[in-house]
Symmetry: C2
């Protein structure tokens, strides 16, 4: 019997339909389109001149910007959706509301190795990548016009990756995105009603139930959310309350690296190299917000950051697009069991 499941944070319902249940071997294997020739890849060491000037890099001591010697390198997106040079002001376009495309759009080249992907990273390599995420987030929030920074990764063509060389993206926007705003308002509502952080409750419950838990270490839990939007969705969250990813400590970066690496390795093995997206949802930085003076009040108490991995092995079709509901053909309990038990 199928069930509707309510995702408290996003305020959405998922239909979990065991009649449509699929197991890992029911999904076709996805081979990563690695046909791209490294000699033509703009992200190779030695080809730094093909990118705009680098914004930030983790480098060998003594190497110069825009030359080889980097481990992780951040450059502006050549085809940005947002630009710092654009105006931020809203305007009217006939009867419609519009606004300038102010913001930032950066590309993180995750590794100099054309053939290495996050599931192959060592714990140190993954920690370096997460360190760069944190540093870019801290830096971008130095611009007071920026209200939110979304860090995300597209892996595989079906997940929207247009280049095979492993990379992530950072988009900084002058308004709080709709989905984040929903997470904020739902978290605030829960906090007002119960005096507790919603995700702290969820994590405590899941660690106790264990059925949807995939992995845990001293500081992080990896689990399949109760109302997963897609099959094999995985959430990674700090076990102890922390609202702002950019405040993560160096030692926690190492443990987050372990958790993320385990999640991606398990996903790779269980679904035979599936395409996926991941993104980090963190609290917006506290800023003056004249339209909503109480918006940030208590934010550090009720917002709990997390990293969400969304495998792209199903297609959201007319029903999902037209209703805002989703149909998820694999229960999170089944997904978690396969991910937990897979041999690495």
């Amino acid at each position: 019997m199928s069930e509707l499941r309510y995702n408290y944070l996003w305020d959405t319902w998922s239909v979990v339909a065991p009649e449509r249940e699929r197991r890992p071997h029911d999904y076709p294997p996805h081979t990563y389109p690695s046909k791209s020739d490294p000699s033509k890849c703009p992200f190779e060491p030695g080809k730094e001149y093909l990118s705009p000037h680098e914004i930030f890099a983790l480098r060998e001591p003594g190497t110069a910007p825009d030359t080889p010697g980097w481990k992780v390198r951040v450059v502006p997106n050549k085809y940005p959706a947002f630009r710092i040079e654009n105006p931020v002001e809203p305007f009217r376009a006939g009867i419609y509301d519009a606004a300038g495309g102010f913001g930032a759009h950066e590309v993180v080249i995750d590794t100099p190795d054309h053939f290495k992907h996050p599931h192959n990273f060592t714990v140190e390599e993954m920690r370096d990548l997460l360190y760069v995420y944190r540093e870019r987030m801290r830096s971008l929030y130095g611009d007071s016009r920026i209200k939110y920074v979304l860090i995300f990764k597209n892996y595989g063509r079906e997940a929207g990756a247009s280049l095979t060389h492993s990379h992530s993206q950072i988009i900084a926007t002058p308004r709080i995105p709709k989905l984040i705003d929903t997470v904020v308002s739902q978290s605030r509502k829960f906090f007002r009603e119960k005096g507790r952080c919603y995700l702290c409750d969820e994590i405590g419950y899941e660690l106790n139930e264990t059925v949807r838990v995939v992995y845990e270490n001293e500081r992080f839990v990896v689990y399949c959310p109760f109302a997963s939007l897609v099959p094999f969705q995985i959430r990674i969250a700090p076990k102890y309350h922390q609202s702002d990813f950019s405040q993560i400590s160096d030692s926690d970066l190492y443990l987050l690296s372990d958790a993320l690496r385990m999640a991606l390795r398990k996903l790779y093995k269980t679904l035979v190299n599936p395409p996926y997206n991941f993104f980090i949802h963190t609290s917006p930085p506290v800023r003056p917000f004249p339209e909503r003076p109480n918006y940030f009040s208590g934010m550090e108490l009720f917002f709990h950051w997390y990293l969400e991995i969304m495998p792209r092995i199903t297609v959201h079709a007319g029903f999902e697009l037209g209703s805002g509901y989703v149909i998820n053909p694999t229960t999170p309990e089944t997904a978690a069991r396969f991910l937990r038990e897979v041999l690495l």
Copy 2:
């Protein structure tokens, strides 16, 4: 310079980015996966025994249910996401909210011809299909537990179609889907502020501006919405106010058939057979709603039904999934110009 554009009805923002502009020939052609063998297709005339018993059909006079002679045939989905037999009641699952999977999930076999798709339909064939949509919607609303009926079509594998034989789907749900609820509340807000229907205003403005209009006939307008979520998105709406698709007249069905057929033929020609979804957003039927007693007040004045076509030629990636914003690399003005001018 890119722009953020506000979609009033759905309360979402689209980034329209001419820097990323693509023209039709920049999109790869999508060949429809017609490898499925008609002799193995469960929707062929003569194979009626492969489907559950038919719910409704447009038939030659004198032919019996579940036998050949039908023009359009409706059967229960063999793998339903919702079932009439399921309970409707919400329940608690540990700390989470859940509800039974009550509802209906039907398949409309659009044509007996395995190789015919809506862009090849005659006006009469398309009218017959729309007639069946209307009749099923009227019938399902006879069950007072049903709060909404979503009619949609998935064409092509990238749009979620698993069988090539042309078919549509109908899902009836015991709650008003989130997206419809948003359309209702946004339309109500506009009506309270201005005393007018939002979509009547939009249609009047677009017909006057003409730049985003693709086609019109006496009763319907076909245009690319200002804040389109995807490239070449097309909206079809009645020019004169009508809230409820199930109340459409027979003569308007014929003119809607003309408009939908033209839109799909233009899309086929412009994008070389792209995958797409379409769905109808209509006002929920007026019903007792104890939790929200004023929910339906004025609904017939402020809700304006429309049919939305969403080509699936781009992938929503980490940014869209993580933010709820979308990046649309083709302006609706460019899309409309190509669609308007293409030779049929």
